[in-house]
Structures are given as structure tokens and as C-alpha cells.
């Protein structure tokens, strides 16, 4: 049996440009070695993993297996000792039942892109009831968030041009009093449809993200149907509640907390992944900050 090819993760994987870049480097490392079938992911050199980023990592592993029949291993001792969050959130648990005794994870799951009932059930019973969600959420507010997240799920089903699964997961960070929720689709990303709808006026990933966040929709030009409220409403919620919205679509990385910085407008990723990843950061008690 061949020795596994090793990919060593470095420093940390947080929900930011650097963390996303490192995971996409892992993806491209494996993608460009189609004849290597077994990879060992070395966690010994990193000191932190944002648990919600497992949704993205799982999407990558899924795609690599589908394309190249590649499989992956990791050192279980290191995982249990340093990153047990990857077991508590269900990402690496083998056949054992998932137990999150710290109640800090929102389980890593995937959904068929037509499974609206499953997705809604997960959002209502795993995310909105989580102890990490903002304290001021009344039922009406929860319904609005639930429906805005449903909008993202629906966008994948309609816009992303894919039948591949939709990956989700979250993590609560008690010391920072924030919960990060990650959603990953494996479709075409924003640009192809937006470029078509604008007759090529929008011609790069960051411009496509900006265009969508303004409330524009390809449906008007391509299907003669209005659209564009979902993402805009989520951005509005984040702005009003000290939350953060991150949109990563193919090579474009944009985050609402990069506005009024030198990275306003977004950054370009060196090695794009497929589709679109949306990260939402909820602040538990916005009144304090």
C-alpha cells in the first residue's frame, strides 16, 4: 500500500482570508495530484481551527473524492488532544455518537439542495436555539433570520447550477460571545450568471459579489422575475446587530468588517475553490459592544 501524501496545515485556520486561503491551498495541493489517492492531513503544526470551517473542508474533501477518488486521514491522538471540536461537531467522529458536552458547536451537516424541510428543521432546531445566538431574539426575529438563511439555501438551488450537496456548520466562541455559521455550495459562484445578466459589464468575482449585495438580481434580466432581497436583508441584519457577513465566491473574498479598511471591496484568493461560501457572525449581546 502506498504511503499517504502529507499536507501540513500551518498556524491556524480561522474564519478569515488567511484561513480560507490555507484551506484552498490544501484543496489545490490535492487536486493537482490526481494519481495520489491517500492524503494525510497533518494537524501537528497548527494551534487553532475554527470549527465552523469544517463545513468548507468537508465540501473540499467531498469534491476531491468525487473527482479523484482521494481519501484522507488525520492523527486521531492529535485531534482528540488539541482539536476535539472536530469530533464534537460531527466532522470526525467515525462510528461513535456525536457528543458536544460543551454545547459550543452547531453540527456539521450537508443537505441535498432540494431538501428545504431538512434545512429548515436544522436551522430552527440546531442554530436558532443555540446558546450562542443573540439574547434579544424574539420569535418574530428568529423567523426572519430563519427565512433569510432559507433564502441563501434557495439561491443555491436556483442560481448555483448544481445538484451537489450544501454543507453547513457553526461554532460558538464564548470568550468572544459570538457564533459563526458557515454555508457552502459547490456551484458556479456568482460571476457566470451575473456576467450573463449584465452582458459582461460585471466581469470579476469581487464585482459580482458587490453587485449581488446591493440587491441586484439576475432573475430580472434572465427570467423576467424580480429578486435580490435575501442577501441584502442579511447584510442589513448584520449591520444593525454588530454581526458580520462574509461572502466568498470563487476567487473573491469579501467581508463586511473589511469596509472602511484598505481591503474595502474585498480581496482576491490565490487558489479559488468552487461555488460560494457564506459566513455569518452573530454577536450574542450587541448592546454590550
Amino acid at each position: 500500500m502506498a504511503e499517504p501524501t502529507v499536507f501540513t496545515l500551518e498556524n491556524e485556520i480561522k474564519t478569515n482570508f488567511s484561513g480560507y486561503n490555507q484551506l484552498t491551498r490544501f484543496y489545490h495541493f490535492c487536486l493537482t495530484r490526481p494519481n495520489d489517492k491517500i492524503f494525510h492531513i497533518d494537524f501537528s503544526n497548527i494551534n487553532w481551527v475554527d470549527g465552523n470551517m469544517c463545513a468548507l473542508l468537508w465540501a473540499m474533501i467531498y469534491d476531491l473524492y468525487k473527482r479523484n477518488k482521494q481519501t484522507f486521514t488525520a492523527d486521531s491522538d492529535i485531534i482528540q488532544r488539541k482539536f476535539d471540536v472536530l469530533m464534537r461537531n460531527g466532522f470526525l467522529n467515525g462510528d461513535s455518537p456525536v457528543v458536544d458536552d460543551r454545547q459550543s458547536t452547531v453540527p456539521i451537516r450537508y443537505f441535498n439542495c432540494t431538501d428545504k424541510e431538512g434545512f429548515c428543521d436544522y436551522i430552527n432546531n440546531n442554530l436558532l436555539t443555540h446558546r450562542g445566538m443573540p439574547e434579544h431574539l424574539d420569535n418574530a426575529f428568529k423567523e426572519r433570520i430563519s427565512e433569510d438563511l432559507l433564502e441563501i439555501f434557495c439561491n443555491t438551488q436556483f442560481h448555483a447550477n448544481t445538484l451537489e450537496p450544501f454543507f453547513v456548520g457553526g461554532q460558538y466562541y464564548p470568550t468572544k460571545r459570538k457564533l459563526i455559521f458557515t454555508m457552502v455550495d459547490m456551484g458556479d459562484g456568482f460571476l457566470p450568471r451575473i456576467s450573463r445578466a449584465t452582458n459582461g459589464a460585471i466581469n470579476n468575482d469581487l464585482a459580482a459579489i458587490a453587485w449581488a449585495l446591493k440587491g441586484n438580481s439576475t432573475k430580472l434580466a434572465l427570467e423576467k422575475c424580480p429578486g435580490g432581497l435575501g442577501l441584502k436583508n442579511i447584510l442589513k441584519y448584520c449591520a444593525e446587530n454588530q454581526g458580520v457577513l462574509q461572502v466568498v465566491s470563487r476567487g473573491g473574498f469579501w467581508s463586511s468588517d473589511m469596509e472602511n479598511t484598505i481591503f474595502e471591496g474585498g480581496r482576491v484568493l490565490g487558489c479559488p475553490f468552487l461555488g460560494t461560501t457564506i459566513n455569518l457572525m452573530f454577536q450574542k449581546n450587541p448592546a454590550i459592544f
Binding site: 432540494t114 428545504k116 424541510e117 429548515c120 418574530a140 423567523e143 426572519r144 430563519s146 427565512e147 432559507l150 433564502e151 439555501f153 434557495c154 439561491n155 438551488q157 436556483f158 440587491g215 438580481s217 432573475k219 430580472l220 427570467e223 423576467k224 422575475c225 424580480p226 429578486g227 435580490g228 432581497l229 435575501g230 436583508n233
Partner: protein, 108 residues
């Protein structure tokens, strides 16, 4: 005339564009005949704007707002903020139509 969304889409979750298109067909038929129609949301637990855009918003693109407003009414049932969302969808559709017309005029 009354239609019940849940019965048309066979689900308590009115989410997808395709769900909305099914409802749009019923609404469009009534509007074309000048028949008033009440849209009932009883049994619907969640409703996305994608659904509302495809079912109701599209009506405002294809007909004058005055005609749609005069013939279309809603039973919001257990969804208290649905009225607000429908107003938002209506506004969005009417402005989309206005913007589209301006663009067309500007480019001819």
C-alpha cells in the same frame, strides 16, 4: 376565488422559485380574467422572498400595480411578518420595472 398555497406546493415551506411559479400560474389566470383572488397561507410555516418574488412579485412586473392591488388579497395566517415581506416584494418589483424602463429608454 381562494387558493391555498400549501395545497398547491404540497409543502408547509414555501421556498423555491419553482414553488412560486406554481402559485404564479394560478394568480396569473385569475388576473387575466379580472377575477379577485385571495391567497391563503394557512399551514405555511416558512416563506422565502424567492418564493414571493416568483409568485407575487412577478405579477407586479407583468401587470399594472393598480390592477394587481385591486384583485389580489392575502390571508397571512400564522406568519405575522408576511405582510411586511409582501410589501417589500411589491416595492422591489415595481422599482425593478421602473429601473428596467429607464434603462431601456436610455439605451435606445
Amino acid at each position: 376565488m381562494r387558493i391555498v398555497v400549501k395545497n398547491i406546493i404540497n409543502s408547509p415551506i414555501a421556498a423555491f422559485h419553482t414553488d412560486g411559479s406554481l402559485v404564479f400560474e394560478k394568480l396569473e389566470q385569475s388576473l387575466n380574467k379580472g377575477v379577485s383572488i385571495l391567497v391563503g397561507f394557512e399551514g405555511i410555516t416558512q416563506c422565502s422572498t424567492q418564493f414571493l418574488n416568483a409568485s407575487v412579485g412577478k405579477l407586479y412586473l407583468q401587470h399594472s400595480p393598480e390592477i394587481v392591488d385591486s384583485l389580489l388579497s392575502f390571508d397571512y395566517a400564522g406568519l405575522p411578518h408576511l405582510a411586511f415581506k409582501l410589501a417589500e416584494v411589491r416595492e422591489n418589483a415595481i422599482h425593478s420595472k421602473t429601473y428596467d424602463a429607464i434603462l431601456e429608454e436610455a439605451t435606445t
